[in-house]
Symmetry: C2
Amino acid sequence: MNNNNLKLSNILMAQLNPISGDVEYNKNKAIEAIKKAKEKKVNLVVFPELFLIGYPIGDILTRYPYIAKQAKKALDEIANHCKDIAVLIGYPEINTDKFGKPYYNSVALIKDEKIIKSIRKSLLPTYCEHNDYRYFEPWVDEFESRIFTLNGVNYGVIICEDGWNDFDFFEKNLYKVDPIKEIIEDIDVLICPSASCTRAKKEQLKHNMMKHCAKKHSIKYIYVNQVGANDELVYDGLSRMYDEKGELTAMAKPFEEDLAIVNLCDGGKINPLPKGLELTLNSQKEFSLDHKPDLERTYKAIITAIKDYFNKNGFKQAALGLSGGLDSTICAVLLADALGAQNVYGISMPSKLTSNESKNDAKELANNLGINFLEIPIKDMFDLIKDKFSGMFDEISKNWCNRYTNSYTNDNIQARSRAMILWGIANEFGALPIATSDKSELYMGYATINGDMSGGYAPISDVVKTKLFALARWMNENRERKNAIPVSIINKPPGAELAIDPKTGKTLLAEDALMPYEFLDEVIWRIENLNQSKDNMLEQEFLYEKKNKIDKNTKLNWLNKFFKRLNTALYKWYIVPPGPIIDGRSINKTEYKQPIISNIDYSN
Amino acid sequence: MNNNNLKLSNILMAQLNPISGDVEYNKNKAIEAIKKAKEKKVNLVVFPELFLIGYPIGDILTRYPYIAKQAKKALDEIANHCKDIAVLIGYPEINTDKFGKPYYNSVALIKDEKIIKSIRKSLLPTYCEHNDYRYFEPWVDEFESRIFTLNGVNYGVIICEDGWNDFDFFEKNLYKVDPIKEIIEDIDVLICPSASCTRAKKEQLKHNMMKHCAKKHSIKYIYVNQVGANDELVYDGLSRMYDEKGELTAMAKPFEEDLAIVNLCDGGKINPLPKGLELTLNSQKEFSLDHKPDLERTYKAIITAIKDYFNKNGFKQAALGLSGGLDSTICAVLLADALGAQNVYGISMPSKLTSNESKNDAKELANNLGINFLEIPIKDMFDLIKDKFSGMFDEISKNWCNRYTNSYTNDNIQARSRAMILWGIANEFGALPIATSDKSELYMGYATINGDMSGGYAPISDVVKTKLFALARWMNENRERKNAIPVSIINKPPGAELAIDPKTGKTLLAEDALMPYEFLDEVIWRIENLNQSKDNMLEQEFLYEKKNKIDKNTKLNWLNKFFKRLNTALYKWYIVPPGPIIDGRSINKTEYKQPIISNIDYSN
């Protein structure tokens, strides 16, 4: 490798936002990028993994196999634009052998207006949100097919997961082959087209791993990631280059399309990470209530998710209920920021249990955000339905003897009346109603079916309550309009205002119905991050216990309640609307699957 | 191999119904079966695949890894019961190597109260409802570990998918290895513990494949399948033995637990298949409106699904709306048969659009079935809500200008008011409300969110409309109580009675809103079975076209409408409640995943 060759090598990291399955759209985006690259004297354009069909792909390749043919045609058309420029672009390659899965997850190398060859992915992630082995045959032969030379520089291509199997970096490895090891002797630059979605704690892991690899092999490492959101997955972009010492020499923007040019000798522009993200690895194996390091990423990821879900599905407007509580408040702010305040309608729908404070808070919030606002009391609906039910239940109990003495019927009439109103607006104006359930409450099934749980999108379904409190404060400090969220909303203890607590005579608080959120969120964290059983949790001290005196019995009761409620919540996870995956692990359907029938002994 | 040894070899096919994740329950079931086997002088007991945790397993092994330890403990306990008897039982084996997935999908061989060895699955199905490679490492070494000898007979064990890769039988193969081929020289009997769920056209494929294998290798073939349902998957059992000529010599019951003993020399009892099933391969690659051969299987599968979903989740009772239409009628019959008529409440909820005929039909049906019945008119709810909406919409349209001139708002108020009533009963009595959507209408998104689409279970969500008509007639002929379904319900054209057709002045019929069901169901069939594009379908003649004269333009319009509606229906597939997978391919979430954002060009 000679320095002059490096100096003459400009690479465009085409960090773009594709639409799943829309080959025509993605192809046009690619051609546009190639045209711009030519103007900027770029030698090589690198697109993200499977760019022509976008991630996630679901089962569309299996059910609509002609999409692979559309992609091949698009490749030919792209080739016509590749005079004097080389291109690496991801596409689903048809496997024509007698054996194996129907496709390869491939990257085409295009040069001199010709498709020179296809480079195929070896390691096929099939866990969490990844399903590669459902569709693709792994390619574990002829690793030299990954190598090509351009202007005297030798490049090696690995595709996403291919780069996640270093035998030193990981204690355990999912695969027996490390594709990098197989080609490293013969290359100067490693290129990794990728579609790797954002998750809590992932950026630091990714950074450390790539840095380790670049340094260990003394090689330049270029990583080109997808950006934007499709359904539940949000891609943060942050394409980048490391030099032979493992130093970061270029970084594209987070959560935005970016045609970022790097020079193999000089590097490129280093855009900053979302603030705080560099700190997120510190407490990896310990629960923390300090959510700060992850708030800007969380905010940006959800904004990206909402924008793309609405735009790509052809929606402009959203309607949501404003209860004056934290969840609907956070959703309102995020929607206003993502869609523009004028496109959001906040509806306050008080019942007789709704306090004046809640009503005022909702109104003030709407006012501060500049979103549209209406107050529609639901007393008339509630009274009519309750009355109607009363006679009906008496009639039914003549045949069925198992009527509950304490039921949630009245609570739910309120939540469902509100959803009825929002879906009415959806039907009449084409606006998308918003499900405001948060992750802590979804774990507990503390959400009403056909009520607050229902909607076209659920923006905060993967954010726990303690983090939402932190996010509220963060937004009050960091949005252009400061303190849009009334402090009273942040300070009041959460409660659905659907029922009276017989003990206090006031509306029931969520923490009394469930358990303290600080405790609840740690249970969730221990399940998702440490895979602990109830017995494990009983043995270990919670952060909550360090701050508050609770006896073993209280802790046991809370844990028992948690797992009991979890079991009945599984059905709700099955029907909850899509929402962006934000956390390290989630219960969102794109990632996690648990049978509803699943009598697990959680004790140990 | 000597005939005397065969004569002395009695094998119990322990065709049992496990609960997903419930190791304790499944273990106790196993021990009970072993005890009975000993009484009957059985030498070897064979349980279905992964029996100790049951299929489907979802992600429970990943999130709750201690389940694998529970299974290992259960195995030790089972061993204590294995004096003078051998046992093959499926369990998740922990992979302790540095490389690979965390588990093997294994079968333990227990003998003389000891766990002799584990036999590991090689071929890991990862498509449709199968996700094995998410959790398991394939075992493709040391095939001789699959062999063991008992009383002078040499057995070889393959696990489910291991038996589905014959190089002659299939034109294409998913895997490069055929585990049977690797061991066949050294064994007398092939044993296949399995968890293979029922699907249209699958029984004949399975039968032909096993028959082919037994004959080709001149070997005895014993297949032990799971039975019963967990969530969306229904296992039909039908465990069996073939002799060296490929002749069926024993067959356990369909859709029922069965401790079926076979003698290696004499075979065992041959229970009949569900009637008609032997005919289902005839028209495999051609669409047919003759659903008859598959009706008994369909009926039994749904009954099994409902029974297990209710029992295993701890529910006894169901509430459903009776519209006098086909879908709710079929659901009512199935529920009555599965749960007992006394456990079903049918609620007729007429609006002013509901005809007297519909009301009478609903009543007559309930009467014939002996289920509980109530008529609750919804006029009051509808009037109140409609009136409320009217003022609200005027207010909103001051800020938002995109109000539809023809909206579905009023249609949906009716459907949602009805769901409100059913969920009220659910809350008050612990009954499960039923979603009555059928497959044809779900494909078209012809179902109301928070309305008829909502419920705790959706029994017919994988049955197309033309098949439901056939099923109604079949049930009228084959149930003990003949003609429980009023003929007028079967004869009237489907329609939701939610809106008036301006052309006729009568309530809008579904086929006018959509397209003829015979045409619609063939489009679905062509997508699911032939993976055809719109252009393919335009080129080929539909059965409907053979019977009715339609011009090319009408066909094109219907197809365009189909794919347009399909795109907006994807969101509904995402939130539809679970229902049993019945058809060859489905849109049920346990099987099929398509991003909601997915702008596919369906034309070609």
